[in-house]
């Protein structure tokens, strides 16, 4: 049963600290998405990659967020420095070359 995995599942950190979230897409999926979900804004796209190349990161605050895919089995999202307004659930999703996006369980981030 292929699934997207995300680590950590929960993260509590203090303002100013670096946060790194990791995602392992489903093997063979060539597109990876990062979303952020909050009560106020809903599900927002932050960035996405195809064949490890970034296609769109216009949803990310560039000064503090960065997304990479060092290899086909790992996508990372970093926040440095973190701020309380970054508190949210961060989802990774992967997709094959058709319509369905498969979401991971999310990383619940709390910045105090």
């Amino acid at each position: 049963d292929a699934r997207v995995t995300q680590t950590p599942r929960h993260k509590v950190t203090e303002m100013g600290q670096e946060v790194t979230m990791r995602c392992q897409p489903i093997l063979g999926h060539n597109t990876v998405f990062w979303y952020r979900q909050t009560m106020m804004q809903g599900l927002e796209l932050l960035a996405y990659f195809r064949n490890r190349a970034p296609l769109d990161d216009s949803g990310m605050p560039k000064d503090r967020f960065s997304a990479e895919m060092p290899d086909a089995t790992l996508a990372t999202l970093k926040i440095q420095p973190s701020e309380p307004r970054d508190s949210a659930v961060y989802f990774c999703a992967s997709a094959p070359d058709r319509y369905e996006q498969y979401f991971g369980p999310g990383t619940r981030l709390t910045v105090t």
Binding site: G42, R98, Q101, F103, R108
Partner: protein, 114 residues
């Protein structure tokens, strides 16, 4: 104004009721419409996928698209407590939505009371 509007609810119904969930949108270029279901503390999962206007049925679920009104609906017949979740609509201008970002509604929280 958001491109996709969805009433956040919560919507509370008794078991066995017919549920109607809706989204409106402003971008007339949207052609591909999806409904995702999200259980508490889980990631969204695809429930229904439709193209352009019309209806699509899958078991107890029916998705309806009215492009002239820019309005989509999801109907759940014989609702069950296990249907309690947040339902998000999502849309795309292109068929290859696995290759492109989706525009999501904010989600409607549904509670089906036993």
């Amino acid at each position: 104004q958001k491109e996709v509007e969805q009433d956040p609810g919560p919507l509370s119904v008794p078991e066995g009721a017919i549920v109607s969930l809706n989204c409106t949108y402003s971008n007339s270029a949207f052609q591909y419409f999806m409904w995702y279901r999200q259980y508490s503390r889980k990631g969204p999962e695809l429930l229904m996928y439709t193209y352009s206007s019309g209806n699509k049925e899958d078991g107890r679920f029916t998705a309806q698209v009215d492009k002239s009104s820019k309005y989509i609906s999801l109907f759940i017949r014989d609702s069950q407590p296990s249907d309690s979740a947040t339902y998000l609509c999502a849309m795309s201008t292109r068929m290859d939505t696995g290759r492109r970002a989706l525009t999501f509604g904010s989600g409607t929280r549904l509670q089906v009371q036993p």
